[in-house]
Symmetry: D2
Subunit: 364 residues, 4 copies
């Protein structure tokens, strides 16, 4: 690989990854060229790799990550919080851009930008090539927010911010959680653990539903107030009864779905009390249904809020949150296995089996 | 039937109605004894009569209605808007009471009162007997809101306010509809037509999805901007495409489910654009599921608001709305068939076949 | 005083208090007769006593308090949270009733009930006489919420809940404070200290502006994050600069006025950053103006929320908050001086000089 | 003036305008060079010209306007609604840019961008010179939103959108106005008339307070429901009584200040009922106070929302609103006097005397 070339992982089709080499692009006005420092494997990467994404069958891979600035395009002097940036600085990019022009953007819903992730789809031959983080380089476009990693925050930890934690903080902000709420969290993977931390800091009470042993341990390490093991309470009814018991019969104020399992969505209304709010974030791949009873909603006047992605400025809040709470939660234990870029398939396999919290990739 | 006795319809079990006679109760402090002037048959009455309600298998029947004051309990000098009331005044009661003490009430969610409709369940022998509007008399309890019928408003029309229109106005207030919104209304029965009127007055654009000929006619008579006939566009995809076309490709801003059909709920996300809001009000009887794809929510960051019943003061707004708009919408044509109390079964049968907009009962 | 008579403090005019004796009333349906256990002196009592209230020049006195049930009216079996009550139970009453019929009540704004405090105005000869807490007895009307004192909560502390803490919790709920906010609190009297506690529990940062030494000490004892002593930073500009410095130049997210001093209101906009929110609760007596510059609002797109009283169910939350946090905050130190009912004038004088946090009255 | 040079009005100090000539700038990436087609004189231009702005004592002038595209910078293919643009298209620019990085921008409050109008301040020698609309050319920067003028909308009318109407639509969106509200509008200048139109389309009732005869006529031409002439009802009390009478004693639900007179702000609370909302937009120049009684807020639990500028996508809504309602409101009559750029001082003088609705400038 030449000094001015880089390598990227390209998905050709289900389970078929190919490494490709391209000249690194020179950043246009407003853009930034970076090297990938750490890239994490997120559940949706695994999903896409397995060919389960309804439309994205090929393209660049990876979206979580921390990068090191190689070259700043004209006009770029600061990150999107106004902090001066220069070569060699470590930054976290929002994994999608915001076009400002599409229907969601022009209603202030930047998280819904229809152009957001378009550039990772299609052929890698399309300049600027490096639009995924499973690569040696990453190209940040104009109007793609990025933020400097706060001093003293371990960059490996920071690499989780631009997907899991930002997503969770945005969702929780949108659904609204108060100190007096009791919140059920369905699933203790990356998003679920992030949710426990955020809910704890709000001062609300958390009840985690999870079945895998290592995830239950993680939930406890993140100070979940209660854990319901679904290998012990095997039916919806048993779990609903347990939540009712833990809430003095009222049911939870909020429940958060971060399992990616459609049946978890159908379980949601059973866990909530009157005027409960449900935050749906985990099911992101259309094509999978669950038998859902809509009258369970009206019976208790429930609300559902669903969000994919986040308004880009939430990444800054996520990084600040990590910095503030790094001694309270064992973020590092989640990143429990390291892989090189060349070991990507192994990392995906391990992640698929949910044996790791988050697999961390380094370019070499 | 003696001067001091009355008659009420009692549901003994699925399809079994019995008329029973009781002494009319003397109103306690804060209560009001009334005679029923008009009672309408609502879809949920039919549902309960057929034995399809999951828990209410027997009890007093009827909840929509307009009543004439017979006797005021001690301390009752005005309606719940402060208007003086006296014997012989026509009033519309909220069909449920608000205990002020239960968990929803004590969070200001009066619509969710857990005691709300408890008194219509169980034996009719329980004093004060007359807790349903399919009867000669109706007993309004303390803390059960009621409002005087505005001067010049036809009481038959007013009789629709305390269920359909109040429900719709509350739901629309909760989901939030603005002048610039395009709103799909699934179903043009009593709630659907009320929704068309309210949406029109807000200035928003309405698209009604309906298949029965008489209901389509009604939708047009209520000035629906567009009607999609589901007997012509038979698949979800076709209807979704039609909504997309009517909205310049964006999808609707809001959709409202008032069909009571679970599959309509599953269709909802297909009709909405990014950050669309869905108002679920029609499916009120648990026990019926639909194959629902939760990723259709996250894909577009959709929200769902569901509500059963309404904060009691919305009945006052509903009556005012009817008064203001009585010349704009043909409310009277909806009440297209009259029955006496003794003809209740016929009225229910006709309603079940959806041949009538709303059947109107008079005590004799 | 006979076994069936009681004594109450009556304000005849500015600074003129008279003790009067009446037969204790028998509770009507829905009402409760109580004996006053503790009554606190609030700033507004002092204000009214001095003749500074614009309209209330005479009437019954006192509104904070904890009472012991003497007799329950017909139909009263529980408090407004559904807890069973019986004779001798200690309860905290909301100090105003909610008519359910007036314009604010019928829009769900129970805190604004226009009939709320009407009954404390006018002659004490009017039955049921005992409508103020500076008395041996207190009569709770139908539709006047009350709550049982939680087990293990010192009733003296509970006596502060029905004015100061409920007010603060309602106001903060309305203005909205999040964990990441920095909040300036103008004034560390009863409301200010309550505000510090609530803000701490939300996890937000607090900056208190106060000048009296004992109040500054109290603010620190309640774990205020920062205190600005206005006897040291004497000008608005100096204090604004200090707030700017403490917030990295941004200004506060929220400021809360609980001094009752009009000039504090005019200072508010100087303390806030862009889109700051201001909560006005302290200035409750019309007739006193301050030189206010409205362009300071638009310059930073500020919002102001003002509230007097609270939705009655907030009293329940306030009692629960006290119970939860009784070991975290030194509530008892605030109630630093005790008086008998006969010493009322002394208690008012001491309170006027702001030498006491809250004066506690006991009937004897 | 050479083919490649243009002319701009520069404010040297109070009442001192100088015309200056510069080479027209070539647009950088993401920018657009335009010629000014129409520029309107807004009240704040007059204010700045008179030297009354607290900080802007010199700089480029003019911010309302419609422009014709001369040259598109690299990468600019569409307006901010995604409509393709090319040379000679007429567009309306948002008069400020949004940096995306400052504290307000990074909380999604783009209207509050601290860099927003910075570029119009200071020397005109600073490239790109043409940052005000009182000029032959106007330079639209990257991240400065602009929208194509809809087909069939008179560009002179469109020229009012980017200040008055966008401001009003944003403010009304933020304060929230519903069909059932009664709204007082203080002042019937450009913002006031825009407010009448928007309120009418929402279906709410409008009460305008104004004294100048031509403005009262305009208010009526814009279909104000009621007009209070303050030359007839001369005191706050009289006007408050009149509003009370028009609202059945309740007071207005909302009041909007668009006079720019501090005393109007102090009058606001007198016009509102319980839980009334006040929208402050007119007072934008700090340094002028009014005697304000904050207890008038708490007495009725009032809220104040203040906003300067608007989220940039509101300009698109404003243009759409004008297009939709151009036959309903006599927008053109407001632009009652035309001036050339050279006649700028005359235009400012006429505007100062409030003899014109909006003076229209054309470059020649």
């Amino acid at each position: 690989m030449g000094a001015d070339s880089g390598k990227l992982a390209y998905l050709k089709g289900a389970n078929k990854i190919e490494f490709r080499e391209y000249d690194v692009p020179s950043p246009e006005t407003g853009a930034v060229l970076t090297e990938v420092e750490f890239a994490n494997v997120c559940g949706s990467d695994v999903h896409t790799w397995k060919g389960k994404h309804p439309s994205r069958k090929s393209g660049m891979m990876g979206h979580e990550g921390v990068c090191r600035i190689v070259e700043l395009g004209e006009g770029v002097e600061t990150d999107y919080a106004g902090n001066p940036v220069e070569e060699d600085d470590l930054i976290a990019p929002v994994y999608f851009k915001t076009c400002q022009c599409c229907q969601p953007c022009r209603n202030g819903h930047f998280h819904g930008c229809v152009e957001g992730t378009a550039r990772t789809v299609g052929s890698s031959d399309k300049w600027p090539h490096f639009t995924g983080t499973f690569a040696t380089h990453y190209y940040i476009e104009p109007n793609q927010y990025f933020y400097k990693i706060p001093e003293g925050l371990d960059p490996k930890i920071a690499a989780t911010a631009n997907c899991a934690l930002s997503q969770v903080m945005f969702g929780i902000d949108e659904v609204g959680i108060e100190r007096s709420d009791t919140v059920v969290i369905q699933g203790a993977g990356g998003l679920g653990l992030s949710a426990i931390a955020v809910i704890n800091e709000i001062g609300a009470e958390s009840i985690v539903i999870e079945g895998r042993e290592n995830r239950i341990e993680n939930a406890r390490a993140f100070h979940a107030d209660h854990v319901i093991d679904f290998t012990e309470l095997e039916t919806v009814e048993e779990r609903a009864n347990q939540v009712a018991e833990l809430t003095g019969g009222a049911g939870a104020d909020v429940a958060i779905e971060v399992t990616g399992v459609p049946d978890a969505f159908a379980e949601g209304p059973h866990l909530l009390g009157t005027r409960g709010r449900y935050l749906e974030m985990g099911n992101v791949s259309p094509g999978y249904t669950t038998a859902f009873d809509p009258a369970l909603l009206t019976r208790n006047s429930l609300d559902i809020v669903s969000r994919a992605r986040y308004d880009p400025w939430f990444l800054r809040r996520a990084l600040a949150f990590l910095e503030e709470t790094r001694d309270t939660y064992p973020y590092e234990t989640l990143l429990d296995q390291k892989f090189t870029l060349d070991e990507l398939e192994q990392a995906l396999e391990q992640s698929e089996e949910r044996n790791v919290g988050r697999a961390v990739l380094t370019p070499e």
